[in-house]
Structure formats: structure tokens, C-alpha cells
């Protein structure tokens, strides 16, 4: 019976302890409510640590022509106008305050000559805008929030996995999960729940995401009745490592290009010059010399084509490889070593500007990036889509349930600009914490339903009760098969029949997942955890595939070979996924609300 489980009671429960979760927990506890924070791993290890380049905020420290208006217009252009414009507006306006707040909490950003926070160039941002710390900005963000948060009276539960959200009628009133160390199940009662579980890259074979990125929060929210938005928009980062095989997918930061790195094919040609999209032509240089000056902060220079948006660069790399002009291991060359022609002590300069890239290649690939070019190729990096939220409060359509960060959708539209993720975490993490605390103050605790808990418990431990052999298999093979199928059929270039094949494949994998058996004990058992994650991976894969089949055009992270162009009509709607009464997944197109006149004008001015 449910009374056997230890119960924790909070006003606000935050699920996920990356940048958004920590920021939400800090804000809620500052509002005076009791906060619990669930970490899937140890505190401070969340995938935010992998963010390298920086956080975008129009502070204008390096170029005073920057303002929230330019940032807003850049974000909308990058997202190809299917963004939630209210979120894009709030994000552009509030990011500078959030960055300054981090400094007040101890973050140590790189400096300008005047001693202000330095800002760097990044793809799709018109002016140098990314506050950064070398190429380990995500670590700085998470450590600053962690070190501030531990003095706020937040109860931290490390290495816990949530298997189900608990409901009282329509409202979410808590969560049920287990600790990884011992496999003990726990009830978390809460007046409000904030989901900040990050990404879902593990649905693909080649990804920059860690094992944690299995879309848990998106799937938990969906199964609790929340709507999902724009799941077709997946960002394939153009530059992941491709060699050696064991590191395939690990991110190579965009800062390499921001600091002057160039992309070449096997013939040594800078192929990015061959294909510059119409709406970026006025901002892109045609002269390599001018492009170099741009990376060195020449205000009058236009950006090199390597710094076009990620979706575009990824497709160009894909094209080069398919045309047989790739590098030996099936990617292209990313060369920063060439800057020795421009800078006297370039090796030291590179080590200072992108130190962790230097170490990453030195240690994992035995390659000195100050001397030789890297081999890179696209890697599944980020989900623009996710849980549908109110742009101001981060509330979902389910009372008591909020979401922020990568697992929430809207800000980035069809394609996220580099640097807009870390700022997203702090802007909307804060808002989610604030409004969840407000909700918790205005509502009493809901009732916990024992039957729900028992059902969730039974589902979670079922894999142990299935006998090995006799039609059952281990969880890993099912996971691999799903990842390979999604990679091949719902990846960077999409086709109707391939995606239909994947949709049918998902049904078969669901049947296999329902028979997965695991051995051993409840304590720190990775096979068991993989079995539990399968449900989430299958849920989000189905949502991604459904939305991708439905959107018959190419936009941002969603590229269809059978519909290679943008359809102006398709710019008018978002894809919305919900769970119907019979448990099946349904999709509808929902018109995007008309943009406010003043914001329309901003976009016109910035064209």
C-alpha cells in the first residue's frame, strides 16, 4: 500500500537540476515556499555542464548597437517565425538582468578591456552577444547556481528518477519515483511541480546528449495530460566529433567558428560560401578576409558563412559528405589551426579561447587542434519542441504543472540560436519558479491517490518479474534499435515513406519494450533504469515522428527532401500533441496568435 512509501512534502517540487531547474528552485525558495529538487544524477552534473559557447544577452558591452530589439529579431529570424513571440520578447528583455544576477552570485565571466562582462560572436546573432567563460560557460552557470542554491534551504534529492506524475482530478499534485542508489520508492507531494528535465537526444544514435537525455519530463507531462508543441523541430548541431567512434556525437563548440575556425571539404574548399540563404545574404560576407575580421570583432565586417544558423550549416555538411567530398571518417574538416597565418602565437591564443576543445581532442582523439584540422559532422543536439507552456508563467495546460528549459517549447521556434539556451534556462527557470511558488501559495495540497501509485510501482518493477528468455530480451538492444531507426528515418533529412516506416517500427518496439526483462537487484541497476527510460524514449519518438510526417515543408531543424522549401501557410501554425481518452497520441495544428504590432515593427526595422 502507498502508506509504505516514505513521503516528502513540498510546496514546489522541481524535477531536474540543470540550469533551469536550479534557477526555478532558487526563485521559488526565495519566494518563501518549501522547495524540493530532484536530480537524476549528482547535483551539478546535469547536461548544462556541457554547454560551451555562452549565454546570449543583449548587454551591449562589446558592441553598443545591440539591444533587446535586435536580440528579439535575431531569435525570431533564427526560429523562422514559428516561435512563441511573447517568450522571445521576454527572453531578449530579461536575459541581461539574469546574467548580471549570476555575477552577483559569484560567476566569473571573461572580461572586456574596460572590466565589463565580455561578449562573443555566435551564429545568427547580429552583434557579439554571448557572455562566456572560455568554452566552459555551462559549467560556470551550473556551479554558480548550485553554490548559491545550497544556501537557500532547498531540499536536494540526488540520483532520483521520477516514474510518474501524481494527479488529483485534473491537477498535478506530486510525483512518484525511486532513488538510484537503493531502488527505494518515494512519494513527493507538492502543490506545484516544475518539470526541468532537459533534452531527448538519446532517442537518436548520434547525439551530444548524455544518458540522461531521454525526454523524461516531456513524456511524464504528456502522460499526465499536458500538451506538447512542435516536436518535429530537432536541432542537429553541425559540429560533433566523428572520430574515434567511441566519441562520435560529442559536441565541438560553435565558438571554434566564432573564433575564426573555418569549414572545408576534402578538396580544401570552404563550401559554406556556396549556399547562403536569401534572408541572411545581407548579413553574410562573401570575402574570407572580411569574415575573419568579423570574428575579431570588427564592427564593420559581415559574418562568415560558417556562422549561419545551425540547421543550415548541418545540412551543408550533410550535402558535402553525401556528394563524396567529405573527410576520411565521413565528416568535413573544421580548421582553427589556420589562424597562425593571422596571429603570431596562435597556439596559445587557441588554448586560451577554447581550452576544453583543445583538451577534448588532445585526450580523446590524440589530435592537436592548434596544428591540425578536426573532423566533424552533425550530431543530435537539442529539442526546440517540448511541453507547451504559457509564455509568461511557464504554466502548462494542466493545473499545478509548470515547465522550463529545453523540455519546454516555444522560445526557439523551428531552430535555436547558439547561446539562446543558457539564457533560456535562467530567464524562464526564474519565471517558472516564481509562478509555481505563487500557485503553491494560492492552492492547498491535493489528495494523493493510492491506486495511481500502485499502478506506477507495478509498471516500474515489472521488468524484474518477467522471466529471462522465453520471448523476452534485455533493454539495451531495444534501445539501440530505436536509436538507429530514429537516426536513419527521422533524422537530419526526412522523407514521408521513411518516417512512416519509423512510425510502424515504433509500434513494434513498444511491443518489445513491454516484454523487456532485467536481472539482479534494485540497487544502482543500470539495466533496470534503461528499461524504465524506454517508455519515455518511445513516447517522444512517436511524437517527433507524428509531427514530422504532418509538417509538409522544410523549416529550421525540420528538413524534408520531399518538401525542400518553406511553405508560407505552414508558418501560421504550431503542431500540438495530446493524449486522447483512449490513450492514443493525437496531433492537431493550432494557429499561431497574431504578433503584437509593436513587435512586428521591431522585426521590420531589423530586416
Amino acid at each position: 500500500m502507498a502508506t509504505n512509501y516514505e513521503t516528502h512534502e513540498y510546496d514546489v517540487l522541481v524535477i531536474g537540476a540543470g540550469g533551469a531547474g536550479l534557477r526555478a528552485a532558487i526563485e521559488a525558495s526565495a519566494a518563501g515556499v518549501k522547495v524540493g529538487l530532484i536530480c537524476k544524477s549528482l547535483l551539478g552534473k546535469a547536461h548544462t555542464v556541457m554547454a560551451e559557447g555562452g549565454m546570449a544577452a543583449a548587454m551591449g558591452n562589446v558592441d553598443d548597437r545591440d539591444s533587446w530589439k535586435v536580440h528579439f529579431a535575431d531569435t525570431m529570424r533564427g526560429g523562422q517565425y514559428v516561435n512563441n513571440w511573447r517568450m522571445a520578447e521576454l527572453h531578449a528583455k530579461e536575459a541581461p538582468q539574469r546574467v548580471h544576477e549570476l555575477e552577483a552570485w559569484g560567476a566569473v565571466f571573461d572580461r572586456t578591456k574596460e572590466g565589463k562582462i565580455s561578449q562573443r560572436n555566435f551564429g545568427g546573432h547580429r552583434y557579439p552577444r554571448l557572455a562566456h567563460v572560455g568554452d566552459r560557460t555551462g559549467l560556470e552557470l551550473i556551479r554558480t547556481l548550485q553554490d548559491h542554491g545550497i544556501h537557500q534551504g532547498i531540499s536536494v534529492h540526488m540520483e532520483y528518477t521520477i516514474v510518474s506524475l501524481l494527479k488529483d482530478g485534473d491537477r498535478v499534485v506530486g510525483a512518484f519515483g525511486y532513488d538510484r542508489e537503493r531502488g527505494r520508492f518515494r512519494i513527493f507531494k507538492a502543490k506545484a511541480v516544475v518539470v526541468c528535465t532537459g533534452g531527448l537526444g538519446r532517442a537518436y544514435a548520434v547525439t551530444s546528449n548524455s544518458w540522461e537525455g531521454t525526454g523524461d519530463g516531456v513524456s511524464l507531462a504528456y502522460h499526465a495530460g499536458a500538451e506538447l508543441l512542435d516536436m518535429e523541430f530537432i536541432q542537429f548541431h553541425p559540429t560533433g566529433m566523428i572520430w574515434p567512434p567511441s566519441v562520435k556525437g560529442i559536441l565541438v563548440t560553435e565558438s571554434v567558428r566564432g573564433e575564426g575556425g573555418v569549414l572545408r571539404n576534402k578538396d580544401g574548399k570552404r563550401f559554406m560560401y556556396d549556399d547562403v540563404p536569401e534572408n541572411y545574404k545581407s548579413q553574410t560576407s562573401t570575402d574570407p578576409e572580411e569574415g575573419w575580421r568579423y570574428t575579431q570583432n570588427d564592427k564593420n565586417a559581415k559574418r562568415p558563412p560558417e556562422l549561419l544558423t545551425r540547421d543550415h550549416v548541418a545540412r551543408c555538411i550533410n550535402r558535402e559528405v553525401k556528394a563524396g567530398r567529405g573527410s576520411p571518417h565521413g565528416g568535413v574538416f573544421l580548421d582553427i589551426a589556420w589562424i597562425k597565418e593571422k596571429i603570431p602565437n596562435s597556439a596559445e591564443h587557441i588554448k586560451k579561447k577554447i581550452p576544453s576543445m583543445y583538451h577534448q581532442f588532445m585526450q580523446l582523439a590524440n589530435l592537436d587542434i592548434t596544428k591540425e584540422p578536426m573532423e566533424v559532422g552533425p550530431t543530435t543536439h537539442y529539442a526546440m519542441g517540448g511541453i507547451r507552456v504559457n509564455g509568461e508563467t511557464q504554466a502548462t495546460n494542466i493545473p499545478g504543472l509548470f515547465a522550463a528549459g529545453e523540455c519546454a517549447a516555444g522560445l526557439h521556434g523551428a531552430n535555436r540560436l547558439g547561446g539562446n539556451s543558457l539564457s533560456d534556462l535562467i530567464v524562464f527557470g526564474k519565471r517558472a519558479g516564481e509562478y509555481a511558488a505563487k500557485y503553491a501559495k494560492e492552492n492547498s495540497a491535493g489528495k494523493i491517490n493510492d491506486a495511481q501509485i500502485e499502478a506506477a510501482y507495478k509498471e516500474a518493477i515489472e521488468p524484474f518479474e518477467r522471466p529471462a528468455g522465453g520471448g523476452s530480451e534485455g533493454p539495451y538492444q531495444v534501445q539501440y534499435d530505436l536509436q538507429n531507426m530514429m537516426q536513419a528515418n527521422v533524422g537530419i533529412v526526412r522523407l514521408q515513406n521513411e518516417m512512416e516506416f519509423a512510425l510502424a517500427g515504433i509500434e513494434k518496439l513498444k511491443a518489445r519494450a513491454a516484454k523487456v526483462a532485467v536481472q539482479g537487484h534494485l540497487e544502482y541497476n543500470p539495466g533496470w533504469h534503461t528499461a524504465i527510460d524506454l517508455k519515455h524514449l518511445l513516447t517522444i519518438s512517436e511524437a517527433i515522428t507524428l509531427c514530422s510526417i504532418d509538417r509538409k515543408e522544410s523549416r529550421g531543424g525540420h528538413f524534408r527532401e520531399d518538401f525542400p522549401n518553406k511553405d508560407p501557410e505552414a508558418q501560421k501554425y504550431n503542431s500540438v500533441i495530446s493524449k486522447s481518452a483512449d490513450g492514443s497520441m493525437k496531433l492537431r495544428r493550432e494557429p499561431i496568435p497574431a504578433m503584437r504590432e509593436d513587435l512586428k515593427q521591431v522585426i521590420e526595422e531589423m530586416k
Partner: protein
């Protein structure tokens, strides 16, 4: 090129355990964590191992490989002699949970006892500060720490003498140094460093510096300057006299 290797992995929990040999085939370019994952997926589904980013940035997969504290994700197989059996065991300075996973919660408790960052008033009217790059270089070195706790694992004060109640270890001396040397910070952490945090226990053998995957010069840049500050504050007779007789206020 494929090759057969044998891993000798510690399996067990707080009650005890034993080494178990696993033989598997490896391909070019693998790291130790890849081999652990392969064994996990094919031979031992329930083998516990903590990891996240697999790129040396999160500091989760700390272990002792052939007796040396390292990150499994950053140890290339071609740096090891694969003709011999390769031993992988958990960090020995922390209690076992299961297999390669240890209980590192002590570290998180220690951190909460160190006084938090406390900045001076903002320098500019808009609430921002000014700091020069050369003034933050040192602090940025310390802030590279990924909290893998390998330095804590190798520190003999913790590992052999179990002074966990009296000494905070190299990780938190680096953490304190980052706060003490932060240009904006106004807090004084020297009394605790001298007393409850036991900086005197460190006898600068530099083992921590050697194992740091982020190449932080823990001993020379963090611990020794902190020791000097403590000495200046508490053990300098002229300084002591000056503090007694200097005009107050």
C-alpha cells in the same frame, strides 16, 4: 583493429565484494568507459557505474584504473598496456554503494559549511561590477573544477587517515581559494580554514595536483597561498603585535 582485453572489475557493495574478470573485444579509439559500457550491455546488465557526459566535463565517472585515480571517459585504451589484465575499481577514499559507484555525499555536506560568496557593493550605478581579466585569471583556474573528487580520493589525509571530520580536502581548499581570491568577495574564511577545516593537515605532497583532470595547480596556486594567509593572520608575531596596537576604526 580488434583486440581481446581482460578487465578485472571490483563487484560488490558496502558489505564487501570481489574482483571479477571480464574478457571482451575492443576496437580502435575506445576509452575505458566504453569498455565498461560494453561489458555492462553484454555480460553484466546490473553492473553499477556512474557517468554522464562522457567528455570529461561533468566529473562523474571517477575510478581507479590500475591503481591510479582517473576519469574513465578520458582514459584512452591505447594509453594502457592491454596485453595485461586491466584493473578497474571504485574510488577507495569513499564508502562503497555498489560496484564502481561510491557514496560521495560527504563532499556535498562539506561545501554547505563554507561561507558563501558575499560581493562588495556594485561599482556602477546600473548595479554591475568592473573586474580586469588579469585579476580573475587565477579564480577562473579554480572554477574549472568539475568536482570529480579524484583529488579527495588520492589525498592521504582523507584516504589513509580518515580525517573527514577535521579536514575539508583539496577540492574544498580550491573552492575556498576561489572565493577568497574573488575580486568582489568581502567574506573572511580564514578562522574556519585554520580550525574546523584543518588546512594544517595538508603537508603539500601534491598528489592532488597530479591527478586533477582539469590540470588545476591545486597545491601551488590554491593551498599554499591559503596556508600563507593563515600563517600571516595567526602566526606572524609582528603582525599579531601590529593588530593589537594599531589604531582601531
Amino acid at each position: 583493429m580488434n583486440k581481446t582485453v581482460t578487465f578485472r572489475i571490483w563487484r560488490g557493495d558496502a558489505k564487501g565484494g570481489e574482483f571479477v574478470n571480464y574478457t571482451t573485444e575492443i576496437t580502435e579509439g575506445l576509452v575505458v568507459l566504453d569498455v565498461i559500457h560494453k561489458i555492462q550491455a553484454t555480460q553484466a546488465n546490473d553492473m553499477a557505474c556512474r557517468w554522464n557526459c562522457k567528455a570529461g566535463k561533468c566529473g562523474s565517472c571517477s575510478a581507479e584504473i590500475n591503481g591510479i585515480p582517473k576519469l574513465m571517459c578520458m582514459t584512452r585504451m591505447d594509453t594502457l598496456n592491454t596485453d595485461k589484465i586491466i584493473t578497474v575499481e571504485p574510488m577507495r577514499a569513499f564508502p562503497s554503494i555498489r560496484d564502481l559507484v561510491t557514496d560521495v555525499s560527504w563532499n556535498f555536506r562539506v561545501k554547505t559549511k563554507i561561507k558563501k560568496f558575499n560581493p562588495r557593493k556594485p561599482d556602477a550605478a546600473d548595479g554591475t561590477w568592473r573586474m580586469m581579466q588579469e585579476d580573475v585569471d587565477r579564480v577562473q583556474e579554480f572554477r574549472k573544477c568539475i568536482e570529480c573528487f579524484l583529488c579527495q580520493d588520492v589525498c592521504h589525509v582523507l584516504r589513509d587517515h580518515h580525517k573527514h571530520d577535521e579536514f575539508i580536502g583539496p577540492r574544498f581548499l580550491v573552492y575556498t581559494a576561489a572565493l577568497e581570491m574573488h575580486p568582489l568577495d568581502t567574506e573572511d574564511r580564514l578562522p574556519e580554514l585554520k580550525q574546523s577545516q584543518g588546512i594544517g593537515f595538508c603537508n603539500i605532497t601534491k598528489c592532488c595536483t597530479k591527478v586533477c583532470p582539469e590540470h588545476i595547480t591545486i597545491t601551488d596556486n590554491a593551498i599554499i597561498p591559503l596556508k600563507e594567509r593563515v600563517v600571516d593572520e595567526y602566526y606572524d608575531p609582528l603582525g599579531w603585535l601590529w593588530k593589537k596596537i594599531r589604531p582601531q576604526g
